[in-house]
Amino acid sequence: MDAGLFWEWVIKSLIIVLVLTGGFAYATLYERRVIARIQVRIGPNRAGPFGLLQPVADGIKLIFKEELTPAGADKVLFFLAPIITVLPSLVITAVVPWGDTVVIGGRAIRLYLTDINVGLLYILAVASISVYGIVLAGWASNNKYALLGGLRSAAQMISYELALGLSFVGPVLLAGSLSLMDIINAQKHLWFVVLQPAAFLLYFLASLAEVNRAPFDMPEAEQELTAGYHAEYSGMKFALFFMAEYIKMIAVAMIGASLFLGGYMGPFVDRFPWLGPVYLFLKVAVWLFVLIWLRATLPRIRYDRLMQLGWKVMFPLGLLNAVVTAFVVVLVGG
């Protein structure tokens, strides 16, 4: 391995982390502004032009807040839980391509960190690890509300992980590969959302539940659980949970766009490879808008209904979709 390749990887990883954390900051502003519009308010517009400095102000506020550790808390896990929550969300998009190859200074640079042949399996593995942070935060706080929130979120994430995994099967069967690059290339002419509407719907709902967003934000139901698993957290530790939630939103939007909406593909992307990241960014922005729109519109679903939807509707639908897709692929000879 030559040194140039090594630095290329380091720089790409750094860019991914910076884009995700910067994206987190501006996703919060995006959400507050859009929700304000939907509720006929204006939203934060004081800090900087159009309120663009609001995330900076929020960050400074959170850094200077006092950090409390409850007396009965398990100190080690209380400290580790926010870190365990943030890390998977930062690394999960490592296999999502941003574009094809571009040339910078005579060196062909591929606009993705890595293209492994088990990319989707990697995403599932990292997603399944991210449950721990939330469960441990609930347990380590030594607070009944937090523990209930943690248990609820664990049950919810385990239940919807199955539907999430099954929704991956459709695109994988159509593309004949687990690599996200191959899946995107297979959508050159037709997006998979057209061929796999059921899988798309499954992915959309299951990913909402995986990132604990409304209407599935049961783990943090304010009215019944104060703030759920992060009730005892303050200052930067709370900010890490907040960060993980928004980065996960961006990550599911990126993965969903790659699986069903053609990823970085778009008109003229063959001739101008720099358009790839732009298309991906636009798709992610639209996806995030829909997530915010849903939060502003739908009431929270009741917990038993949530479990019933996951196990009795989405899981069988996913199985059926996998079987039907496999049959069609074999019959057509894809």
Partner: protein, 186 residues
């Protein structure tokens, strides 16, 4: 073997062994479960370095991600964090230690008394680790074991459901769907 690879394997091996020991000696069930998770992930990384990404990520997703989450979930739900200091089976710790020492002696004896130099395992072809090849192997070459495994897992699922439904109502007293809250079979 290159020095860098050796160092990586040594560190990983230490993590694997250390987390396994931590799991055994930890008296808090949550910590024990977390040590086991760390162990599974470290073994997954070991698979990754050995060039088997499919097995590696399957290991992390299924063992570390799904099964252990259920363990942690049940421990928290039952509030059974504190493990008893006295083990229920007396003397098993000493038997375990004895077996460990015996095993170490056996490994050492094999290493020093072997008659031929250690052989490198035969190199497997490029692309052997790809999901396509693994899938073809499972469906074509090892179809029968694959099917038998699937059948065993199905039996396990049915058995689990049967165990969980022990509190079905007594026959004849109410078979409707509201009977679940009724009497329990003793």
């Amino acid at each position: 073997m290159a020095l860098g690879t050796l160092i990586i394997f040594a560190v990983l091996g230490l993590v694997v062994a250390g987390s396994a020991i931590g799991m055994l000696v930890s008296r808090n069930a949550i910590y024990a479960a977390l040590f086991l998770v760390l162990n599974f992930i470290a073994v997954g990384v070991l698979y990754l370095i050995l060039g088997a990404p499919f097995i590696s990520f399957a290991q992390v997703a299924i063992y570390a991600g799904s099964i252990m989450v259920l363990f942690v979930f049940v421990i928290m739900l039952l509030g059974a964090e504190q493990l008893p200091v006295q083990e229920p089976l007396r003397g098993q710790r000493w038997i375990g230690l004895l077996a460990g020492v015996l095993f170490l002696l056996e490994a050492g004896a094999f290493f020093y008394l072997r008659t031929s130099a250690p052989q490198w395992a035969a190199e497997i072809g490029f692309g052997f680790e790809s999901p396509v090849v693994v899938g073809r192997m499972l469906i074509e070459k090892y179809l029968l074991p694959f099917e038998i495994t699937g059948f065993l897992l199905l039996i396990a699922v049915v058995g689990a459901i049967f165990l969980a439904r022990l509190d079905t109502p007594v026959r004849g007293k109410g078979l409707g769907r509201h009977a679940q809250t009724g009497e329990r079979k003793e």
